[in-house]
Amino acid sequence: MFYCLGIESTADDFSVGVASSEGEILSNVISAYVPSEGGIHPREAARHHVKVAGEVVAEAISKAGISSREISVVAFSQGPGLGPCLRTGATVARAIAHYLGVPLVGVNHCVAHIEIGRLICGVKDPVTLYVSGGNTIVTAYEGGRYRVFGETLDIAVGNCLDVFARRAGLRQEHGKPFGALIEELASRGGEYIPLPYTVKGMDMSFSGLLTAATNLLKSGKYDLADLCYSLQETAFSMLTEVTERALAHTEKGDVLLTGGVAANKRLQSMLRSMASEHGAEFHVVPKQYALDNGAMIAWTGVLAYKCGLTLPIERSYVRLRWRLDEAPVPWVETGIF
């Protein structure tokens, strides 16, 4: 039995978790950077990460109830993500690994989302929909990799919702994310206003949808609740359609929903309905593991370490555009997990 310390810092969250080689999550501490206005400024987010890194690492280790000397491997999210944020996490990881004299493992952020979902939900081989502020991907394992069956051609669906919320003058209060505010408003709307629905083959586009919704908002002719309702219905129908195609094509028995947007009840209900039509089971990753988190990096680090995928410090560059389907996942093939 060994322990892995995982560091996540791809975007606005700095998070550290500890996982055991047996698949226990011992701690998962998240510190979010909340911009006073606008979206994530990469440099400001990185500055936040630097400031909290020491505390978050200490808290994760103490909550795990282990001593730092019991850590056998340090994992960090190597990409994809925002450069300054990734580099901050990587620096912290290198320092700790070097100080403890243990190996370093670079983890693909998107792979980690899938792995923690499989672990927590107990699903072996799902079609995964990963939706957040930075990513929109439909993926499933086939022939040695997590293949991308469909993805966004421009902005992520979470980004589309966030920007719309800001343009509508909504404010993040008491840690309630924009997505939750839109969901709340949408539940009060009921009149569908036509918006562009863009599915091209297996890929989706959300930027035209955002522009159209913004224009309708600015026209002042529509109720904000109806706009939120229409925006959600359109975007989530696109996501569900592409997931359905992947499910029909792969004939897998499970659908897994993860990422920050996974918390949305309407998206969950659409996917559940679609999955049941295909006789597949629907799973949603609980919030603390669906958002960006250190535990998923720690657990994926365990898997990578078991396969000997360690990274010498001098080659531990961050990879800003590291695609999900470029990341090796030998533990799936070999049946380690």
Partner: protein, 225 residues
Amino acid sequence: MEHVYPGLSDARLLKRGAEACLYCGVWHGRRVVVKRRFPKPYRIAELDKRIRARRTVKEAQIIHRAKEAGVPTPLLYLVDIANATLVMEYVDGPQVKTLIGGLSGERRAEIFTRIGVLVGRLHISGIIHGDLTTSNMILDSRGRIVFLDFGLSERSNTLEDRGIDIHLVKRVLYSTHHEYAEECFSALMEGYAQVMGAEEARRVLEKVREIEMRGRYVSERRAKQ
């Protein structure tokens, strides 16, 4: 199966896709294929209706445009927008996919040159088929090659989209008929060049190579990095 579509008898399911179901049967004395886009319960009705109607209309339009461009396609008997249903001619004959192995080299080259001409006619008229597989091409009783299934078709004139279309047919040839793939593909490109001109055909082929390079496990690509 009697209630697949009003007036349709002897209905039989041909294919169940993620989006639509394809049936064959007899309708007003004709052998037909009925393509129905069924409602998706997960979508709200207004949106669902709009999407299915739009895709049905678009498919019908493209089938018609392809005919204008000189590419044989099934005759459309009915475009039922309210029910997102197309009723079209049942094209009798073997799929090109099942023919390939049994042909002489000369006949194979002739057929694939003709396929190349037809793809060229689509592209030059701004149509991207989107699913150019050899099971979507039928050699009918009059000796024509008929293109089927325009469900994924788009209107486009870009080099990228043309490249993707040709890339797909190339991949299909190499994966399902790989012993004849090279000769079939070069015959196809010859026909394609007859319509598009040698220069455009060369540019498309170059694009196809570039698209192949985007693949994840291409050794040349790795070496370049």
